[in-house]
Assembly symmetry: C2
Homo-oligomer: 300 residues x 2
């Protein structure tokens, strides 16, 4: 990143969307919202939710779903490239990547209006829980943790389940990221929402805010909203929205609602990164001589 960017104000829009079963419609809806964020809200950096052109198909293990995958880069990223160039914005989007027959990834791309397609990040931590059967679909990423040099600064991109791993945020920050961006698809199981819902959401938000604090980075979490029914059961997932942006000192700068589609726009004062990192210089004091066992599963 150019030095003069470190004092810049960056305007960010997180696009909190509801997805339909029609992926063409989701894509055109996204393009419309991106245009709106760029033209009406004057955003420099625009972030879409995880798998933004699809309903969350991972509620079940269905081999037919692999047909929804696409090459990355490919036609969708090409359309996004043209739009980013036209609008002069930086764009983060998440796609179901077909790498080869039998090898698929949950992949995020960074596209810059000025520099074009900058590359991709393949989701490293893959969940597998009732309703989130991702290990069936996605091979764990093999590109490591990455930061991308964009027109708006160094952007680190991770995806959803990565949110829970301080190792991921740390490695992305050590790579130079100033903004950590998490395209996400997380929600409540309606049958447990009353009892666990608030605690689950609070844990999700506070862990990501803690990544902001411990690394002195901005954090952008972009979630979807809406209820998506399980294909064969009465239940489904109520995606909890509440996309948010946190400052390097952990403050929530803006938060969307739990139900509405929303372009959440906020200005990032990039000088806050330096202020936070000098005020509480955590990176200075890491005991890198004593962290070797972090590569162990357990120390037992």
């Amino acid at each position: 990143m150019k030095e003069n960017l470190s004092n810049k104000i960056i305007r960010v829009s997180a696009i909190q969307m509801k997805m339909t079963k029609d992926s063409e419609k989701n894509l055109s809806n996204s393009l419309r919202l991106i245009k709106k964020a760029a033209q009406e809200e004057k955003a420099d950096l625009i972030c879409l939710p995880e798998l933004f052109s699809l309903q969350y198909f991972c509620q079940t293990e269905e081999p037919g779903n692999f047909s929804m995958s696409e090459p990355v880069p490919g036609p969708t990223t090409h359309a996004l490239e043209l739009l980013a160039e036209e609008l002069n914005i930086t764009l983060v989007a998440s796609l179901f990547e077909r790498r080869a027959q039998g090898v698929y990834h949950n992949t995020a791309v960074v596209i810059d209006g000025k520099y074009g397609y900058l590359g991709k990040y393949r989701k490293m931590h893959i969940p597998d829980e009732p309703g989130y059967q991702e290990k069936f679909y996605f091979t764990p990423g093999d590109l490591g943790f990455k930061s991308f040099k964009t027109s708006v600064g160094n952007c680190g991109v991770m995806v959803c389940w990565d949110q829970w791993y301080p190792e991921a945020a740390r490695l992305t920050a050590l790579n130079g990221a100033q903004i950590l961006i998490y395209p996400t698809a997380i929600g409540w199981h309606p049958e447990e929402k009353n009892i666990l819902g608030q605690t689950q959401h609070e844990a999700w938000e506070l862990v990501q805010r803690s990544h902001a604090v411990t690394n002195g980075c901005f954090v952008i979490a972009v979630n979807r909203v809406g209820f998506e029914k399980h294909p064969s059961k009465q239940s489904g997932i109520e995606f909890w929205g509440q996309s948010f942006v946190a400052a390097p000192d952990g403050r929530v700068l803006a938060r969307a609602s739990s139900a509405d589609t929303n372009i959440l726009t906020v200005d990032l004062d990039m000088a806050e990164i330096k202020k936070s990192r000098l005020g509480w210089p955590f990176l200075r004091d890491r005991r890198i001589d004593a962290y070797e066992d972090l590569t162990k599963r357990l120390i037992d």
Copy 2:
């Protein structure tokens, strides 16, 4: 830990204290509060704040302060051992350790009523900021991150600045800790409290709650309270108290005030650890094949 402890209810008291200049008085006050917590509140595990027998002498760099150090184990831990045995409690305390002339540590000990002195942890991450001149006093710890098998379960102990390092919490959890305990001395500079105070406290609490969530552990943070004047300036530190206990899902189970001395007592349902770790199985999915660079200062 014995398997049957994993369903036990453990009663914990965090002793939030105010310290005087008289270390004998602080010690006797602590012993009194420990007795009260054990006998009246029926605590099984009792935790004292960082450097509980001393005012926070690190506001300045004063060579004379080294005379307040003591061997660990030594007379103080011996007194605590006798008390722990008498009351049948597990005790976590923090001392200014004299290891040799010229080598001092900020050290926490774990003492068990049944098993005696279990060992010590030497603060690994040492701060150095205006008013917190710890690098002058404390050699960084060389014992690594530790979990101690006690009568109440596996207790991991870290100290204050360690709070900000997810690496420390993770390694302690990987060592088997079920409860992460942070004796602490943190407060506001009065001259910046109005502007930064709330954000600073919130960052401090949320980062520790995030350690609870990401590791599926209980967290106990024990802070001091009261204003301690800087020896030569008009200013000083207003220690912000607000000792708290968080559950493995990040819920704050109890929180003390910012000004009062307080025995904060709360029951830990140890079955919650298993519930959290099965509900959101983060430890299962760590990408230990991709964490090697965590031992680097920066990746540049």
